[in-house]
Subunit: 256 residues, 4 copies
Amino acid sequence: MKETEIIRLKDDVQLNNPIMFVGLPGVGHVGKLVVEHLIENLEGEKVIEIYSPYFPPQVLVNNDNTIKLVNNEIYACNINGQDILILAGDHQSSTNEGHYELGSLYLDLAEEFGVSRIYTLGGFPTGEFNHNEGVIGAVNNINLVEELEGYGVEFRENEPGNGIVGASGLILGLCDFRNIDAACLMGLTSGYIVDPKSAQSILRVIDRILDIEIDEEELEKRAKEMEKVVEKIKTMKEQQETGNLPQKDEDINYII
Amino acid sequence: MKETEIIRLKDDVQLNNPIMFVGLPGVGHVGKLVVEHLIENLEGEKVIEIYSPYFPPQVLVNNDNTIKLVNNEIYACNINGQDILILAGDHQSSTNEGHYELGSLYLDLAEEFGVSRIYTLGGFPTGEFNHNEGVIGAVNNINLVEELEGYGVEFRENEPGNGIVGASGLILGLCDFRNIDAACLMGLTSGYIVDPKSAQSILRVIDRILDIEIDEEELEKRAKEMEKVVEKIKTMKEQQETGNLPQKDEDINYII
Amino acid sequence: MKETEIIRLKDDVQLNNPIMFVGLPGVGHVGKLVVEHLIENLEGEKVIEIYSPYFPPQVLVNNDNTIKLVNNEIYACNINGQDILILAGDHQSSTNEGHYELGSLYLDLAEEFGVSRIYTLGGFPTGEFNHNEGVIGAVNNINLVEELEGYGVEFRENEPGNGIVGASGLILGLCDFRNIDAACLMGLTSGYIVDPKSAQSILRVIDRILDIEIDEEELEKRAKEMEKVVEKIKTMKEQQETGNLPQKDEDINYII
Amino acid sequence: MKETEIIRLKDDVQLNNPIMFVGLPGVGHVGKLVVEHLIENLEGEKVIEIYSPYFPPQVLVNNDNTIKLVNNEIYACNINGQDILILAGDHQSSTNEGHYELGSLYLDLAEEFGVSRIYTLGGFPTGEFNHNEGVIGAVNNINLVEELEGYGVEFRENEPGNGIVGASGLILGLCDFRNIDAACLMGLTSGYIVDPKSAQSILRVIDRILDIEIDEEELEKRAKEMEKVVEKIKTMKEQQETGNLPQKDEDINYII
């Protein structure tokens, strides 16, 4: 495989003015959690698989011991008459040039499907565990700010200070070349753990964008499990400071 | 050398429905030990050499002081009427894209020879020195599970947890694009040392696959040497914990 | 985006024997500070934007929360009848080959505009905070030495000892292939902080090159802010040596 | 510069059955010292310059403050009727694929000039400062062993144990594809310092290969300077072990 390969699972995909959501692995896996929840709840149908020499040489192993080569995938769904495309998956890119090549490829596909609006979803690392409901925004077109503030997105001056690194930022930048409006929605998160609560915050913004109310049960369950893990981490930290070593804990797998 | 180069040592290689075994350097060098043992005992004939700018810029030096440019090689043999191809060698890949390019190339060759089944061989790192006979499996086609369980391969739910990284996993994933059935057989091993015992475990599975009994003498000898090394390591660890420093030991070269 | 992309913002750019200044991020951000000051004070008009898969996958976020894909830019201005081109921007290169490809591209553009002289601007790291007015020079044509000494550039034997690494050195080397005279002007700087004072030193050499006097107010203001930061750093160092820990300080952002 | 560039300084280079010596920077800079000494003493004429995006983005600065883009160079000379080509320079390669591409390019040029024998020169790291006269050999053709032993080259069984990494090994391996006989001559050296004494050892082997006696004065001078540095290092080590810290020493620049 010398080049990225696109596998089309459905030949005749007709969409009307779709919105695209992008949630690749990143800070707190927030974006990934959101899109996986959307695909589940909106009954997304997989239409495209993307394999690439820019992904790690790795297969994931399913519960039934079959393997899956790491990839990214595009799902299509429709809610309230609004066509939606969702880009989800396993990896951003293993190389610098790969980021640009894959990002451009995603936008080739977006253009092909007539996408007019892209939301990239991610986490905004705060370094603190105390949960904050906020969802911070950045846009590639200033006319989007007012609309997004209406959806509950917060715009802070000078934030993020160092810009946005990775696919959720790059895709916004590349959208400029395609005249596609795009915004990055970042849920506030510690940056140390997988964060379903932060995903819930973004989901509520998406509810307002789509004017629906997506069931949150799955994320709520994971959020409760994560609260226990955060409590354990806080306890471990106190124990370390006082000199008592904690027990080995499987829950620590929730830490990214 | 801008591209990977394939040197064919034999022009007219006709094989009937061959099985392919892949054992490149990896965890515990388990896969490598197995295929080297197979090539020796089944009198494999080298048919292909593969050189690549994705291998390190390195030559190995033979006992007679002649050099050999690092490469991978394919051997052909036949046992009990079953044609076999064996991919063995010095290196997986020095770059990310190289993994994908080389993996695809190996499968181009597999398809050319009409390979219908590929077994990639490797080690499953446990972190523990106490030897376990088990061989864990992962497949790219669920129909293979029952057959492999019949050969003594163990399938554990959720294992390996982080998937399989490297050629032995990637080749399975790429086989999906070629409609070649493939399985990864992983001998349990500490992950710290070259492990001939783990190679023996895989060899016994291969005995059942091929319905033969391959002489284990060479591996048995190496396994006994390794047991002495493991004892020394355990003693060294105890000495470190009690404060007595061990002697410098040449056997420590067996550690990967 | 598989290749570097050049966006021309103005079609018909006619320049007469222009001089080019190059100030990409580097030691002390000295070169960057100089060219940004020149663009501001000489009212540079942006004529070219350069995007590249060799830049990091990153967008910067403006005060109004709109994003900008990392890039480099070329500005044109004219002072005292002398046409000037200025190459400024966000990044040198994320890969080795990228350095060479981008450098060659900049010189393709320089040749296209008929550039006859290029000055690359940077910092010469001394490891010391005490400010030194000096600007050290290196040239690709020995005939430039005397002229530059006339502008106040210092030429030290055997300095810089390890040569010049990065765009400001590479561009000089590549100029040899194009028969463009080029010099690297390096302001003495600690190497630990963004250094507006060092930028002022280079600016005064440029004043003599162009026979003008560029207003220094902006740089002067930043230099005064930096002096306070340097004082704080010196105090912090003393505190560390005596055992008193310093307060958390926002000014430390000035450290590169 | 997207590709490696070859600048030919002389159009009509006719050589008769030349021998090629390769001495690129490596362990102890031994090979580099030898070829620079040969070029000087045999009055080598530069015939080719090689620039490459695989070399670092760097210029070296000469005493007169002019710069030189990092490159490798080929010199031609003749001694006792024997045509000689010498490959010398600044760098091996910054990337894995670069090693293979450059190595192949050097051999394209070797073939073009009708080279029948290549000697790559380097250092064999021992970890010890006490000087050993020995020059270890490795060959790509077993028939070379006896001849080289006649020149005083030592062949040790199982040495070098991990093969030869880098240009001096790779070139030998690539020579196999060109039917060019090649040998690597490695002077024993600590591996910690630039080692002119080790270069002298190789030079004496070259004297026997070419049946001449090359003046050693330059290398002898450098060897004496290095002996003083080695003494200082030994003293520093003792001081560290006894607790007295040494003075800052400029000679420590001799350490690689």
